[in-house]
C-alpha cells in the first residue's frame, strides 16, 4: 500500500489571488461597524435595527464548545467585516461594467458569467468577497416571476418578502455564528419562486473569498411558494493563505404547500496546507422549513475543502406529509477537521426524512458525523431512515459518529445504521489484476462508496464532485 501513499500531491488549483482594488473596512467589530455595513448598502432602518439586535445578542453568547474540532480562539476584532471590489458604484446594469479582472477570475474558476452561456441552463449569482458582482439570466427569470438576485438588491426590490422571511427559519439569536452573521452579513443570494412556478433552470451562487484578513458572511434566502419548484447550487473557493479566514454564512429555505427545494453544495474552500497551516473556518448555519403540506427540502453536500467545517443543514418538517432529505459526502485529508451532519425535526404528521452521510477520512483528518432526529409529540407516523458510513484511509485519521435520536411519539419509526470500513488490499489487488492502476482503483472505490449521494446531485455537479474527490484524496490514499 506504500506506493499508493506516495501518489503525487496535486495542489489546490483554485488558490490564486485576483489583484483588484478593493474597498475594505478596517479590522474590528462594533456597533459602528454594523451600522457602517448597513449604511454602505443603503438599507432601510428596520434592517439596521435587526442587525443591531443580532449584534447585541451575539455579545452575550459564547462560541460553541461541543463540536469535535479544535482551533485556537478566533480574534473577532482581527477580522475586516466588509470588503468589496472598488467597482464604479454598487449598481451594475450589465456585465460590461464588472471589472474585467473579476470576470477573468470567474472564467479561471470555470464559472462563466456570459449571458450566452444560458444554454447550460444555469443562472449564476457571483459573490466576490462581501458583494455580489454579477447575476446572470435575471431578465429571463423575471419574466417567469422568479426573483433571483443578490441579497442587497432584494432588500430594495422586494422589501416586503425579505422582511417577512428573513430570520424566520434561523432567528438572529439561534447560535453564536448565526448571530454574528445576522449582524454583519454583507451579501448573498435571494430567490423567490412564486406560486405554481417550476424554475426551468438551475440557480446557482458562486462564492469567492479574495481579500486577506476578511471574513465572509453571506446570507441566502430561498422561498418557494405553493407548488413551486427550484434547484439551487452553491460553489465556493478561496485563495491559499497562511492565515485562517472565517466564513460564517446563514442559509434559510422556506417551502410552502407542495413546494420543492433542492439545495446542493460543493464546498471547496481552501483547506490549508499539509501541516494544517491556513485554510478557511467554515462555520455555517443552514436550515430549511417545510412550512406547508407535502413540501420537500433536499440538501445535498459535497464537503472537500475548509480547514474546519461546522455545518448541519437541517429540515424542520412542520407541514403534514412533508419530506426532508440530507445526502452528504465529507472528505477530510491532511489536518482537516469536519463536524457535520444534519437535524431533522419532525413536527407534522406523516413527515418523512432520509439521511445518507458518507464520511471519508485520510491523512490526519478527523471527520465527525453529528445528526439529530427529533420526533415531536404530535408527529404521528413520522418516519426516519439514517445511514452513515465512514471510510478510513490510513491509520492516523479518525471517524466519529454522534447521532442524537429523540422520539416522543409511539407511532414514529426511526432507524439508524452506521458502519466503518477501509479500502482493503484485496479490493485494490482485484482491480490491479484487471489492469486498473492503483490510483484509478481507489478513485473507483471511493466513488462507489459515495454513489448514493452523487446521484442526488445535478449532473454537471456530479461530474465535478467526482473529480474533486479524486483531487482531495491525492497523496493520501493508502
Amino acid at each position: 500500500m506504500e506506493d499508493v501513499e506516495q501518489l503525487a500531491t496535486k495542489d489546490y488549483k483554485w488558490g490564486f489571488v485576483t489583484d483588484v482594488a478593493s474597498d475594505t473596512f478596517a479590522k474590528g467589530l462594533s456597533e459602528d461597524v454594523v451600522r457602517a455595513i448597513s449604511a454602505k448598502k443603503n438599507e432601510p432602518s428596520w434592517l439596521t435595527d435587526w442587525r443591531l439586535a443580532a449584534y447585541r445578542a451575539w455579545l452575550k453568547m459564547k462560541a460553541p464548545v461541543w463540536p469535535n474540532v479544535t482551533y485556537p480562539p478566533i480574534d473577532y476584532q482581527g477580522i475586516a467585516y466588509y470588503s468589496a471590489p472598488a467597482a464604479p458604484k454598487d449598481k451594475k446594469q450589465s456585465l460590461d461594467e464588472v471589472d474585467p479582472e473579476i470576470l477573468k477570475t470567474y472564467e479561471k474558476l470555470g464559472i462563466s458569467l456570459d449571458e450566452q452561456k444560458r444554454l447550460q441552463n444555469i443562472a449564476v449569482d457571483a459573490v466576490f468577497d462581501s458583494v455580489s458582482v454579477a447575476t446572470t439570466c435575471k431578465d429571463y427569470l423575471e419574466k417567469l416571476g422568479i426573483a433571483f438576485c443578490s441579497f442587497s438588491e432584494a432588500v430594495h426590490k422586494h422589501p416586503e418578502l425579505v422582511r417577512r422571511y428573513l430570520g424566520s427559519v434561523v432567528p438572529t439569536h439561534d447560535n453564536f455564528f448565526a448571530a454574528l452573521n445576522s449582524a454583519v452579513f454583507s451579501d448573498g443570494s435571494f430567490c423567490f419562486i412564486p406560486k405554481g412556478v417550476k424554475c426551468p433552470m438551475e440557480l446557482s451562487t458562486y462564492f469567492r473569498i479574495n481579500a486577506a484578513d476578511t471574513g465572509q458572511f453571506e446570507r441566502t434566502l430561498i422561498v418557494a411558494e405553493e407548488g413551486a419548484q427550484v434547484s439551487y447550487l452553491e460553489g465556493c473557493t478561496a485563495p491559499k493563505r497562511d492565515t485562517n479566514q472565517l466564513h460564517a454564512a446563514v442559509v434559510e429555505l422556506v417551502a410552502l404547500d407542495n413546494a420543492t427545494i433542492k439545495y446542493s453544495t460543493v464546498q471547496n474552500w481552501y483547506p490549508g496546507d499539509k501541516d494544517g497551516k491556513g485554510g478557511i473556518y467554515n462555520f455555517v448555519t443552514k436550515r430549511g422549513k417545510c412550512a406547508g403540506v407535502n413540501s420537500k427540502i433536499t440538501w445535498t453536500q459535497v464537503e472537500t475543502g475548509s480547514a474546519i467545517t461546522w455545518k448541519y443543514p437541517s429540515c424542520i418538517l412542520v407541514g403534514d406529509n412533508s419530506v426532508g432529505e440530507f445526502y452528504s459526502v465529507a472528505v477530510v485529508n491532511n489536518r482537516q477537521q469536519a463536524d457535520t451532519g444534519t437535524k431533522m425535526i419532525h413536527v407534522g404528521k406523516n413527515t418523512r426524512s432520509t439521511i445518507v452521510s458518507k464520511g471519508i477520512s485520510a491523512g490526519r483528518g478527523n471527520n465527525t458525523y453529528r445528526g439529530q432526529v427529533k420526533v415531536a409529540k404530535g408527529a404521528a407516523k413520522a418516519r426516519n431512515y439514517t445511514q452513515c458510513d465512514s471510510l478510513l484511509i490510513g491509520d492516523r485519521c479518525g471517524a466519529h459518529t454522534f447521532p442524537y435520536i429523540e422520539v416522543q411519539n409511539p407511532t414514529a419509526k426511526v432507524e439508524h445504521e452506521a458502519s466503518t470500513s477501509k479500502i482493503s488490499e484485496d479490493q485494490i489487488f482485484y482491480c490491479k489484476q484487471r489492469g486498473i492502476s492503483t490510483e484509478n482503483a481507489i478513485n473507483m472505490i471511493v466513488n462507489g462508496f459515495c454513489k448514493e449521494v452523487f446521484r442526488e446531485l445535478p449532473m454537471e455537479f456530479a461530474v465535478e464532485a467526482q473529480k474533486l474527490l479524486g483531487v482531495s484524496l491525492d497523496g493520501s490514499v493508502g
Binding site: 459564547k62 478510513l392 459518529t401 416522543q408
Partner: protein, 447 residues
C-alpha cells in the same frame, strides 16, 4: 446545539452537610489508607457540584429532583428482624446459593451465606477486606472508577462505608453463581455502596448484583462497582435493578479486562423511579472481550438512563453490545453508547445495537449511539431503532384467534426475549423470563 449558554449556579444539595458530618465521624478514617481517596472524592464534588442538562453527558437526564431532596445519612449499620425476613424474599433464581447481603449499604454477615464457595475465594464486605486484604484492595479501589469520573462517583468515593468484595484467585472456577444483594429499607436514606470484584488469571465466576427493596419508599442508592478481569479470566456479571418505584438509583460500573479475558455485563432495569447507569469497559489486553446486554422495562413516570462506553485500547479485541427497552406510561429511556477505538487498536470488531419499543403516547426515547474511531483496519457498526409493534404482526396473531391484548403481549415478550436469551446466568435468565411473562399477563389483564 444552541449557542446561548446560561450561567447556572452550582447545585450541591444536602451533600456538603453529609460530607462534613461524615468527615467528623470515626467512619471517615476507619481505614487510614482510604482517607486520601475520600478527600479526593470530597474535593471533586465540591469543585463540580451536580451536572446540569448543559453537560453533554446529562443532556437528557436532569438531576434536579435528586439534588433538591434532603436525604438522611446513616453513620453505622443497623440490623433488625424485618430485614432478615425480607432478605429471603429476593433470590432472583439463585435461592439457596452463596450470597453476600448488604443492608442500606452495609455488609450483613448474618444474612450472608458464603459457606459453599471454593477454597481461596475471598468474599464478603468491602470494609473488612480493606483491612484484612489490604494488598488486594488498595491497588484497585478508586483506580478503575476514579472520583473524577462524575459528581456521583466523587460522592461515593468520599462517603462509602461498605460494599461487596469478591476475589477469585487465579485458576479457580466458581461453578455456582453468587448473589450480591443490596437491600434498601429506610426511607429518605442515602447509601453509597462500593463493590470491588477481582477475577484472577484463568479464573471464572458468575455474579448477580441485585438492588431491591420491599418498600415503595423514596431513598437514594449511589453505587460504584469496580471490576478487574485478569488474563484469561471470565466474569459473567448480572445486574438487576429492582428498587422501589420512588427510589433514585445512580450507578457507576467500570471494568478493566486484560488479554484473553471476558467481562459480560447483563443489565435488567426494572425498578426505581430514577435510574442512571454509567457502564464502562476498558479492553487493555489483546483479545480481551466485552459484552454488554441490557433490557429495560419502564412504565409510569420512570426515568432510565444507560450510558455505556467500550474503550478498545489495544488491537484484536471484539465487543458486543445489545440494549433493548420497552416503554409504557409516561416513562423516559435514554441510551448513550460510546465505542472508542484508539489509534493502534487495529482489527477491532465492535458491534452495537439499540432498539426501543414505544407502547404509549406519552413515553419518550432519546438515543445516542456514538462511535469514535482512530484506526483504519476495524469493523465497527452500530444500529438504533425506535418504533412500535408491527401492525402486520398483530394482524397475523389476530387471524389466529388471539385477542389484541394477547397479541401485543406475545410480540412484546418476543421483543424482550431476543436480548434476554443472551444473559449469561441460566437461573437468572429463567427467573427474568418468568417475571416478564407475569408482568405482560398483568398488563394484558389491565388492558
Amino acid at each position: 446545539m444552541s449557542g446561548a449558554v446560561a450561567e447556572m449556579p452550582m447545585v450541591k444539595g444536602c451533600w456538603p452537610a453529609h460530607l462534613d458530618a461524615f468527615e467528623k465521624s470515626p467512619g471517615w478514617s476507619a481505614v487510614p489508607w482510604a482517607v486520601g481517596l475520600r478527600k479526593r472524592g470530597s474535593a471533586a464534588f465540591h469543585e463540580r457540584g451536580f451536572p446540569t442538562t448543559d453537560d453533554e453527558d446529562w443532556r437528557y437526564t436532569s438531576v434536579q429532583a435528586l439534588a433538591a431532596t434532603a436525604f438522611r445519612q446513616s453513620l453505622a449499620a443497623r440490623a433488625d428482624a424485618l430485614v432478615s425476613s425480607t432478605a429471603k424474599m429476593f433470590g432472583f433464581g439463585l435461592e439457596g446459593g452463596p450470597r453476600i447481603v448488604l443492608v442500606d449499604g452495609f455488609f450483613s454477615p448474618e444474612l450472608s451465606d458464603l459457606t459453599a464457595l471454593p477454597k481461596g475465594v475471598r468474599a464478603g464486605g468491602l470494609l473488612r477486606a480493606m483491612t484484612a486484604e489490604k494488598a488486594r484492595v488498595e491497588t484497585h479501589l478508586g483506580e478503575i472508577a476514579p472520583p473524577s469520573f462524575s459528581a456521583f462517583a466523587a460522592l461515593n468515593a468520599a462517603l462509602f462505608q461498605d460494599g461487596a468484595f469478591l476475589d477469585v484467585p487465579a485458576g479457580v472456577k466458581v461453578e455456582t453463581p453468587i448473589l450480591i444483594l443490596h437491600l434498601s429499607h429506610e426511607s429518605y436514606l442515602a447509601s453509597h455502596p462500593r463493590n470491588l470484584y477481582r477475577v484472577g488469571a484463568g479464573a471464572s465466576v458468575q455474579v448477580l448484583e441485585a438492588y431491591a427493596s420491599p418498600s415503595c419508599d423514596l431513598y437514594f442508592t449511589n453505587a460504584v462497582t469496580e471490576v478487574d478481569v485478569e488474563r484469561g479470566g471470565r466474569l459473567i456479571h448480572g445486574r438487576i435493578e429492582s428498587e422501589s418505584g420512588n427510589a433514585f438509583h445512580v450507578a457507576c460500573t467500570q471494568g478493566r479486562v486484560a488479554e484473553d479475558g471476558l467481562w459480560q455485563s447483563d443489565v435488567a432495569a426494572l425498578g426505581a423511579g430514577f435510574f442512571r447507569h454509567d457502564l464502562g469497559a476498558r479492553l487493555v489486553g489483546e483479545r480481551a472481550e466485552a459484552r454488554m446486554f441490557g433490557l429495560t422495562i419502564a412504565s409510569g413516570k420512570q426515568h432510565v438512563d444507560h450510558h455505556t462506553a467500550i474503550d478498545h485500547a489495544v488491537p484484536h479485541c471484539p465487543s458486543r453490545e445489545y440494549y433493548k427497552a420497552i416503554l409504557n406510561g409516561r416513562s423516559r429511556v435514554v441510551f448513550n453508547g460510546k465505542v472508542y477505538v484508539r489509534e493502534d487498536a487495529q482489527k477491532t470488531d465492535a458491534k452495537q445495537t439499540n432498539r426501543s419499543l414505544l407502547l404509549s403516547e406519552d413515553a419518550r426515547v432519546d438515543t445516542k449511539p456514538q462511535l469514535e474511531i482512530f484506526a483504519d483496519d476495524v469493523k465497527c457498526t452500530h444500529g438504533a431503532t425506535v418504533g412500535q409493534l408491527d401492525e402486520d404482526m398483530i394482524h397475523y396473531c389476530r387471524t389466529r384467534g388471539m385477542s389484541p391484548a394477547v397479541a401485543r403481549g406475545i410480540l412484546t415478550y418476543a421483543f424482550a426475549r431476543d436480548v434476554l436469551q443472551n444473559f449469561g446466568i441460566p437461573a437468572v435468565k429463567e427467573h427474568l423470563d418468568r417475571s416478564l411473562v407475569q408482568r405482560l399477563l398483568d398488563a394484558g389483564r389491565g388492558a
